[in-house]
């Protein structure tokens, strides 16, 4: 498969993925009670997801595509 096609598919899937993650963040921002412990857990989840996303991108560009 050619690079532009694969890249477009990957970016579309990432877009859908971040839409769901963004929805969760929006719900938490909108409905969380003030002064609670949730922000720490949210930060941990988001950092892990962002790091894995970054690693995924690096690995994607290492795949030999034409």
């Amino acid at each position: 498969m050619s690079f532009p096609v694969t890249f477009t598919i990957y970016m579309t899937l990432l877009g859908v993925f971040w839409f769901f993650v963004g929805s969760v963040l929006w719900h938490l921002k909108e409905y969380t009670m003030p002064d609670d412990y949730s922000s720490l857990i949210v930060k941990i989840f988001i950092i892990i997801i962002a790091l894995l996303n970054l690693l995924g991108l690096v690995l994607f560009f290492r795949i030999p595509l034409q």
Binding site: F20, V21, S23, L28, T32, I49, L52, G56, R62
Partner: protein
């Protein structure tokens, strides 16, 4: 966010007991470990260098999706909440990512409260269900919550105060 009237105060905020999340967390942990189990099996096959790159890429994306699913599970758990204020009880239930139900009733509508500890685990971990019967036809149940007796006492105390004021 819930809007409170000027003289209204939050008395207690209740989430489900953490044990409710344990099953889902365990399942998530098993799914996270799956690539570790599969890796030695794959190593038996002769895979070209570019193939290894693809496998690593897929494994990282798989982990990312599993973590995101666990994040949604946690949100579902965390946003199921019962708020007891000096005036009312607000029951917020997050059914799924885009489905949310909010119901509330005034404390002066409270008629009786039933506390239920359904099994042995609930007895040891001190959680259970509270069923609040209101003057309307509907009864409200708050399931798998800790601090059962504290919640019951607060509801009764403030419901009684409300009844006294109305009489």
């Amino acid at each position: 966010m819930i809007k409170l009237s000027p003289e209204e105060k939050i008395l207690l905020v209740l989430h489900r007991h953490w044990i409710v999340m344990l099953g889902k967390l365990f399942l998530g942990a098993l799914l996270l470990l799956l690539p570790v189990v599969i890796a030695p099996i794959i190593s038996f096959f002769e895979i070209p260098a570019w193939g290894e790159g693809i496998i690593e890429f897929l494994a990282v994306n798989y982990l990312m999706v599993i973590i995101a699913i666990m994040f949604i599970f946690w949100m579902d758990y965390y946003l199921d909440v019962w708020i007891i204020t000096t005036h009312r009880i607000i029951d917020i239930e997050q059914k799924n990512l885009f489905h949310r139900e909010i119901s509330e009733f005034m404390l002066d509508k409270v008629q009786d409260i039933t506390v239920e500890i359904p099994n042995m685990l609930a007895t040891f971990l001190k959680y259970g269900n509270i069923v609040v019967q209101t003057a309307g036809e509907r009864s409200f149940s708050i399931k798998q919550i800790p601090h059962l007796y504290k919640a019951k006492n607060i509801i009764l105390e403030y419901a009684q105060k409300k009844h006294e004021r109305t009489q």
